[in-house]
Subunit: 329 residues, 2 copies
Amino acid sequence: MGDGKPATIYDVAARAGVSKSLVSLVLQRSPRVSDQRRAAVLKAIQELDYRPSTAAVSLAGTRSRTIGVVLDDFRNQWFVDLLTGLRESLQDQGHRLVVADRFLNTGLDASPVEGFLSMRVEGIVIAGEPTTDLAIPASMPLVIAGGRVAIPRADTVANDDHAGGGIAAQHLLDLGHTRLGFVGASSAASAERQAGFEQSAVPGASVVTTVLPGEPTEEAGSRALGILLDEHPDVTAVFAANDVMALGALSELAERGLRVPEDVSVIGYDDTPVAAMRYVGLTSIDDRSVEIGRGAGERLLARIADPRIAATELLVEPRLVARRTTAAR
Amino acid sequence: MGDGKPATIYDVAARAGVSKSLVSLVLQRSPRVSDQRRAAVLKAIQELDYRPSTAAVSLAGTRSRTIGVVLDDFRNQWFVDLLTGLRESLQDQGHRLVVADRFLNTGLDASPVEGFLSMRVEGIVIAGEPTTDLAIPASMPLVIAGGRVAIPRADTVANDDHAGGGIAAQHLLDLGHTRLGFVGASSAASAERQAGFEQSAVPGASVVTTVLPGEPTEEAGSRALGILLDEHPDVTAVFAANDVMALGALSELAERGLRVPEDVSVIGYDDTPVAAMRYVGLTSIDDRSVEIGRGAGERLLARIADPRIAATELLVEPRLVARRTTAAR
DNA sequence: TTGTAGGCGTTATCAC
DNA sequence: GTGATAACGCCTACAA
């Protein structure tokens, strides 16, 4: 099939011996078409390898049936599961997903949102913390997935960090640990996780913490744990604000000659792919990204249907994923 | 700005007191517009927060100025650097990048290519090995980035696996190792890397290999190294077909109580983000994804400009990234 | 340098 | 049921 220009409805109509309108009706699965003509049209579509032009569809139609997903960075893998959830809730309704991180079209657009606006998306999902420079029109249906910073008119669907911290504490208590440590950074999530951790742990154990200003990086994890161990060498279990910091903690422990989990148990947060690697085997708290995505999609659909509904906040319950880095005391 | 419907050129024209065409000319940076009118138009655009509709643009224009990038899976992080390179070479020409992995719009399209075809993209980049079920029209400008399976009419830009294997060997020889091992799987890349490795190593060292059928997974890396060490316990350095397998090798070594790099040096391939983590510190071969992306973008532009040019194959020279898992004998 | 008219491929609104 | 016909927002000759 050496196709020159893509086929149009006109081509299909001519080939099927019907009008352009009829083709359009078939495309939209209208029931008001005789089976005979429908078959003829479908046959022609097949033969011509016809494919509707999204440009023409969204220009002529009242809606673009497209949802834009803004990621902060393709390197933050958690979006993969989020997309799965979004897909589940959005594609049944025929919505197409378009993803972009902050960098994908820099040089063309100031922000990924710019591009989405040009595409006339019907709604936007922001994965993670929304940065203030996104400039999203007030009339655009919007949901924050995984972020805690609420934007007044936007729905929020996120993991329950406080509960997650509690789960981490309970796990360590169950294993018999009584001298616990927490390493964190200066983010809302870290603070929430810490609070939940301490609240659930304190009745049965002592908790010492080191919270470093700045991002929750591997480097920060190493430094924080170093400081914590220098002051409290008797700690037997450590909860890190996220997996990346936990990785930093692990390398710090290795450098100090401390074995994991024999000498110190370590638990992270987010259940990232790295944590699941056999070489790492990090016990972590699964933030249920798929669920978050599904919830976010549902909220967005509701908001698109009726933009005036009140903003809601949905918390998804996290759960423990036990691996090799935690063990009984 | 409670914007109801997005502004159109008509609105802009009316506000600036000019015709619609004039607005269009300004948008396209035409020099044949008086500074005065241009200023007026730009001002109106600002005030109305006008943004051209990509749908209308690609419908009316002769070209969509859009490039589709097909990823096999968002989990394979190497595409991140590839995108950087693609961006560098494509966006100067005003091309917009759209990415999709195999799953993004399943349920709507049979394959990501379907969606791109509907969008009337001007070209397609396939990241990694092209799967045969993609069904790309012969007339679509196409380049395979990072894959070795050539499609007749497509350009190929890839890392020079053979050279990379040689670099790995040379590194280990330089460190004084003489009993080398290789663990691989059944992929074209693995075979090439192995060949390059053996060819450069054999003069000065012995090489034993274990190649397992199937995918190059962490699990395969563990198994392969286990087999290799059982038969050849005297090996002091191991080259794995990729970082993931190397990770598997590392965990196998840990389980056997062998220290890295004191007892055994390990070197991977791809220089993935995981390898760069402090906790891992895996010496690896950088496949230069940014360069590959840049090259792929350039090839694609050339092919779009003249679809009849002969398909070319560009090999990018990889380079060593030495970290903690390799040391002198 | 500026304005006019036609068309891009599809949906939506009518008549028939 | 089916088929004209007018939008949709923009670009591109072409005319002025």
